[in-house]
């Protein structure tokens, strides 16, 4: 029973238990636990929509924090958007920034507590629309913080409006006939933009549309935190993410849509890697 509870979490276990799932314990008595909830991920249901990749990103961050033993030195900065309640899911200190200002808030924390690990968790509307000034300034300063940046090409929380990252011709609630680049301009590629700044040490783009890419994303998150631990300056991982609800697609179709439409516009890759990070093997 304990094994199942470890694997699926207390809430799911309660449901299974109430439905009479008890006998399986006999069958897996002597098996090792190979996959379980990270310690720093709180055992509650999230508010995210089915198929949304925020849950995956949360888990990857929590796994990295656990593996690096940083859970009692980390302060997270949540932003405004779907991940506004991110602090409910991580079992360590968190603050909640105003819209777009998470990098400035993280800067304030890091400057008075330089021995702590400080990261922001931001979406595309937050980071590269309203918060463009703050993210560019923080990266330019080489602020020793880590940014986890989820790009799902729309404003999820407010119901799917056009973001700076919305693809050309993509329909949203505020570009109902598709994003006309002549009138609404072109998408901003944040990783490419930030990688031009000398202060940035680790800028990469990954995706979360399949298992292979999720594994690559985790390695990148690990390297981003390693950048900060080593005091090498600003690090950011852009994670291409799905938004099945606002894209009006099933979770699996959303993953496919991401692969076919977002990756060509937002290529996965390492945009800037500090030389001292190149030798790190994860």
């Amino acid at each position: 029973m304990l094994v199942i509870r470890e694997i699926c979490g207390w809430n799911v276990w309660k449901v299974l238990y109430s439905r009479g799932v008890k006998m399986v314990t006999l069958d897996i008595k002597n098996m090792d636990v190979v996959y379980k909830r990270p310690e720093t991920l709180i055992d509650i249901n999230t508010h995210y929509c089915p198929g949304c990749t925020h849950g995956i990103a949360h888990r990857l961050v929590a796994e990295v924090i656990d593996e690096m033993g940083l859970s009692d030195t980390t302060i997270g900065v949540a932003s405004v958007g779907c991940s506004v309640f991110a602090y409910n899911y991580f079992n360590f200190d968190f603050v909640e920034a105003s819209h777009g200002r998470a990098p400035a808030m993280a800067t304030g924390i890091k400057r008075v507590r330089p021995d702590r690990i400080v990261f922001t968790y931001q979406g595309d509307g937050d980071m590269i629309s309203i918060g463009t000034g703050e993210i560019v300034a923080a990266a330019g300063r080489g602020e020793n913080i880590t940014v986890i940046f989820l790009n799902n090409a729309n404003y999820g929380m407010t119901g799917g409006q056009m973001a700076p990252t919305t693809l050309p011709d993509m329909k949203t609630t505020s570009s109902p006939h598709g994003r006309d680049v002549k009138k609404m301009g072109y998408p901003i590629r944040a990783s490419e933009l930030l990688s031009t700044l000398q202060g940035a040490s680790y800028i990469v783009r990954r995706s979360m549309h399949n298992a292979k890419n999720i594994r690559m994303a985790k390695k990148a998150i690990r390297l981003a935190f390693e950048t900060q631990v080593r005091g090498l300056g600003f690090s950011m991982v852009e994670l291409l993410s799905t938004c099945p609800t606002n894209w009006h697609l099933s979770p699996s179709d959303a993953a496919k849509w991401l692969e076919e439409n977002m990756i060509p516009y937002y290529p996965i890759g390492d945009y800037k890697v500090h030389p001292l990070l190149k030798d790190i093997k994860i």
Binding site: I75, F92, R101, A104, M105, T107, V112
Partner: protein, 371 residues
């Protein structure tokens, strides 16, 4: 301690340093910039945090982050910068973390100018940021008073987990006066219980201003209002001059209060029974005092460097118990003592009561003054 010649902006910066300031974040804006420049040298020299932010938005949110760690933190700016900081101030208020802002006020609205003004009264005292919150706003009238106010403001802000604002007119930031800077306090080593520090599990702390359930938000609003009630009871500050037997009370704060004192002194020497009340705490406003004064005097003259923003608070406190008049200069102008003396003489000769709103009557008189 010795008295030294200090420029206002440098003096309040050093006073904050002496009070155990751990971090300063700011952005250049006249007439406040000397404070930023001073800190850029002084803070690193002491191994403390200094950063010139990308904007006032950046600066106030850096302050917000540092305040969440329980550090003594401040920023300073001038009116247009204060407008930009309003968003951050509302969040800081809603998160219930202490900080200090020094606002060196200049002429406005818009880009306005860089001359001294009191046009930030409404945006500072009556909010400006969204939602229900009240910052403590103190308005000193000299370099020495600014030094002492800044030096003590951290303790007050931390006591009530609130925003402490020291609002000075551009003139006080720019002028040089002899001042005594208090002794250097040690930087606090401990972390307050409520502050984030990097804790997990049971030691985990979350600081936020979001309360999605209206009932929970209201509980927070009420908690803050309870604290505000205590502030209104215990933190009212003002100075009285020549109020014994006064038939006319002049009310002014900061530079206009200081200029008014010269006028009141002159009027007293002419035998006019006039006194001065100089509120130092604009928020909490000395309502009780003004109510009592309104019952004793024949008239009140409010003097400001704006169009009568504190006037509304005086009218509300006086509750129609006495005749109220107003005299103000705007646009970055400081009234001369002679101008205020003329007003005192006019009112003491017997002003026409109930002739209209004090602001309307002042605007009529201004027509001849500005020509």
């Amino acid at each position: 301690m010795t008295r030294e010649f200090w420029k206002g902006n440098n003096a309040f910066a050093e006073a904050a340093v002496r009070a155990g300031l751990q971090a300063y974040f700011g952005y250049p804006i006249t007439p406040q910039t000397e404070a930023l420049e001073y800190m850029s040298n002084r803070m690193p020299e002491l191994g403390r945090a200094f950063l010139q932010a990308e904007s006032e938005l950046g600066a106030i949110n850096m302050v917000y982050g540092a305040a969440c760690t329980g550090a003594r933190v401040m920023t300073s700016t001038s009116s247009p910068g204060t407008s930009l900081m309003m968003e951050g101030l509302s969040y800081i208020a809603g998160t219930e973390v202490p900080m200090l802002l020094v606002d060196v006020v200049r002429g406005g609205p818009g880009l306005g100018n860089i001359a001294p003004s009191q046009g930030d009264y409404n945006q500072m005292v009556h909010g400006g940021g969204h939602g229900d919150y009240h910052p403590i706003v103190l308005a000193p009238a000299s370099v020495q008073e600014t030094v002492d106010t800044v030096y003590n403001m951290f303790d007050i802000a931390e006591k009530y987990l609130t925003i402490g604002v020291v609002m000075i007119d551009g003139s006080i930031g720019q002028m040089m006066e002899p001042a005594e800077i208090p002794p250097m306090l040690e930087v606090r080593k401990d972390i307050p219980d409520w502050a984030v520090r990097g804790g997990k599990g049971k030691d985990r702390r979350v600081l936020t201003s979001i309360y999605l359930a209206p009932e929970e938000m209201e509980r927070t609003n009420l908690r803050m209002m309870k604290r505000w009630q205590q502030i209104e009871r215990d933190e009212v500050r003002y100075k009285e001059y020549f109020m014994d037997g006064a038939k006319l009370a002049v009310i002014g704060y900061g530079s206009s209060g200081r200029v008014a004192l010269s006028a009141v002194r002159e009027a007293r020497s002419q035998g006019i029974p006039v006194g001065l009340i100089r509120p130092i705490s604009l928020s909490p406003f000395p309502k009780q005092l003004i109510r009592e004064v309104a019952e004793q005097v024949d008239s009140i003259l409010v003097v400001e460097m704006n169009s009568g923003m504190m006037l509304e608070d005086v009218l509300s406190a006086a509750q129609g118990k006495t005749h109220v008049e107003f005299y103000g200069r705007m646009g970055g102008l400081i009234p001369f003592p002679d101008e205020i003396l003329k007003e005192i003489e006019r009112i003491s000769k017997g002003a026409q009561k109930d002739a209209g709103h004090p602001r309307d009557l002042w605007l009529e008189r201004m027509e001849s003054i500005v020509q």
